[in-house]
């Protein structure tokens, strides 16, 4: 469904992605793991159209995403819960969620999805009128995911949803990711927490300094010696 082929992205002269190729099929959870600074966030921002690759292609089915301006990428079914959450601090929880559906016009569908998000994250419903900036870190993460779901995306990009959360909240977030996927949303999950990510993903890619160095199904990656050493903390 989503396919990156030999994508190169630069920040000025810094060559951040050095030919990334990966694909995500319909219905999958695919994880992209790698240490800090490897290029995970850059990959997601490039898919989203916030960064333009210098070469390579990004395709959603037959559509060439990398040729679209960023605001059109969302309308094609790509939504993201970004690194740092990026919620709107002076908008209410409800307004934040409504902004998630910005590119949509089907009022009934939007209302349904709002109920669905409140079903997944009852906490958000309790805080519906509260300003986004006053939420706790965990609540902000829920809001960022909820906002992305409000786009009813074909593929949901998640950038380190576990970052900075307590173990209980991490479990909750990962359970929710599985639930969202079971309801039919395809997921590309970026994580430093490789253990958790591989435990719920179907397949995985390992990224290191801008290059994919390994790919396999999740179970095999968990057993891979290099992965165990570098990312799972197994000696």
């Amino acid at each position: 469904m989503l396919e990156l082929t030999d994508v190169h992205t630069y920040y000025g002269n810094i060559h951040a992605l050095k030919g990334i190729s990966l694909k995500v099929d319909d219905g999958e959870i695919v994880t992209l793991i790698g240490s800090n600074g490897a290029g995970k966030t850059t990959t997601l921002r490039t898919i989203q159209g916030l960064l333009r690759p210098r070469s390579g292609s990004i395709k959603l089915d037959d559509l060439e995403l990398h040729k679209l301006p960023s605001h059109q990428v969302a309308a094609k079914g790509i939504a993201q819960s970004p690194e740092g959450r990026m919620i709107f601090p002076r908008m209410s929880v409800l307004e934040n969620l409504e902004m998630g559906a910005y590119a949509r016009t089907d009022k009934d569908g939007i209302q349904q999805d709002l109920e669905r998000v409140f079903g997944l994250f009852p906490r958000l419903k309790e805080r519906i009128k509260q300003k986004g900036g006053t939420l706790s870190g965990g609540e902000q993460q829920m809001l960022a995911m909820g906002r992305a779901l409000m786009a009813r995306p074909r593929i949901l990009l998640l950038d380190e949803p576990s970052m900075g959360l307590s173990p209980i909240l991490v479990d909750l977030i990962f359970d929710t990711i599985v639930a969202i996927n079971k309801e039919g949303t395809t997921i590309l999950l970026v994580e430093q927490n490789a253990l958790m990510a591989l435990s719920i993903a179907h397949r995985g890619y390992v990224i290191q300094t801008g290059e994919i160095i390994l790919t396999d199904n999740a179970a095999k990656l968990q057993e891979n010696e290099m992965v165990q050493k570098s990312y799972l903390g197994v000696e």
Partner: protein
């Protein structure tokens, strides 16, 4: 010693300096408390009079201030050319009124029609000009240092001021510009007074009430129009899809892009609205103060920018509040102190707010950027 306490000491020293200068120069500037107290005692009603003048001027300042605050809120640029867009609004209105014969007619119906047309065209020209300035002078610099955009804005300001200077010399457009060249102040005819006179009424709505105050049709016009525009803007920003997109873009531009918001279009719209408001303020101020001058955008810009900062830059309600407060400050300074020093007081206010409460009266203290 912590960074914060060092900063505080510096602030206190600068504030003490400002205070010292104010006390030193105060008497020259007319800051003489017994004298002022005596003046108020002698004529307490005058206080109310200055209040009315301050509110009306404040309303105009607030409308111009909205343009500063909206633009700053969304791209963190102090649009130095904004006051000059307002000045162009004054000249546009005057020119439309002249070309349509509105300045020469005595028929109140024709004058009202001419004014409506002038309002529409001043709004359109202000909006178009401001959005063009953004497109030409700011957009390419959006990812450069803030200083670059600021310098570009000052350049645009010079261009517009010189345009005003040339415009004010074109007496074939507006005969009353005369032959004295563009540099002198021009008259903006008192059309509202003319309308009232045509109906045998006084400009002063309190003329035959026995109250020794002036509350003119002009005061009323400015307050009503300003109030209506602010209300409309608030509703727009709170409730419409574009208004929400503007707030989202202001709060987190990348997140806005991710959600499918075309931020170029949102920023253009912000400049369109701010410019349209400045254009409208141009006509209102022309009718209110009855002058047109190529350099009038400077004082208006200083006061409006200060109003926006005082209220909390980026905050629409704040710009309204700040506008009214600065209007009152200017009016009381003009009335009780010394009009020549009014700009200095406004500037001192700006410096003090920037030092002690840069977020302004209604600005967010925390959670500005999540």
């Amino acid at each position: 010693m912590g960074k914060a306490s060092k900063l505080n000491i510096r602030r206190i020293v600068i504030a003490a300096l400002v205070l010292y200068i104010v006390l030193l120069l105060g008497p020259i500037a007319g800051f003489d408390i017994p004298n002022i107290a005596a003046a108020i005692q002698a004529n307490p009603l005058q206080l109310v009079q200055f209040l009315i003048i301050g509110l009306a001027n404040g309303a105009i300042i607030a409308i111009i201030g909205l343009g500063y605050t909206m633009v700053y809120g969304i791209i963190e640029l102090v649009n130095f050319a904004h006051g000059d867009v307002y000045m162009i609004g004054v000249f546009t209105s005057l020119t439309v009124l002249s070309l349509t014969g509105t300045l020469d007619t005595d028929s109140p119906g024709k004058i009202i029609l001419g004014l409506i047309l002038a309002l529409v065209i001043a709004i359109a020209v202000g909006a178009g000009l401001n959005a063009t300035v953004e497109r030409v002078a700011y957009r390419r610099l959006r990812n450069s240092s803030r200083l670059a955009a600021l310098i570009s804005a000052i350049g645009v300001s010079f261009i517009l001021e010189n345009t005003g200077l040339i415009w004010a010399a074109q007496s074939w457009l507006v005969p009353s510009f005369g032959t004295t060249g563009g540099a002198s102040q021009k008259v903006f005819p008192d059309l509202l007074g003319k309308i009232m006179a045509a109906y045998g009424l006084d400009v002063n709505l309190l003329a035959n009430t026995g109250i020794a105050l002036r509350f003119t049709i002009k005061d009323l016009m400015v307050m009503v129009l300003a109030g209506a525009m602010m209300l409309a803007l608030r509703l727009f920003v709170q409730n419409t899809k574009m208004g929400k997109a503007m707030r989202a873009t202001a709060q987190n531009r990348d997140a806005a892009k991710m959600l499918g918001i075309d931020i170029d279009w949102v920023i253009s719209t912000t400049f369109l609205i701010g410019g349209g408001l400045a254009g409208a303020a141009g006509l209102m101020a022309g009718l209110y103060n009855n002058t047109a001058w190529w350099f009038m955008g400077f004082r208006a810009g200083l006061q409006s920018f200060t109003a926006a900062v005082l209220g909390g830059i980026g905050n629409i309600t704040g710009a309204m509040l700040g506008g009214i407060l600065i209007g009152l400050l200017a009016s009381f300074s003009d009335g009780y102190l010394n009009a020549r020093w009014t700009n200095a007081w406004v500037f001192a206010t700006l410096v003090l707010i920037l030092l002690f409460r840069p977020s302004g009266l209604l600005g967010e203290q925390v959670g500005e950027k999540a």
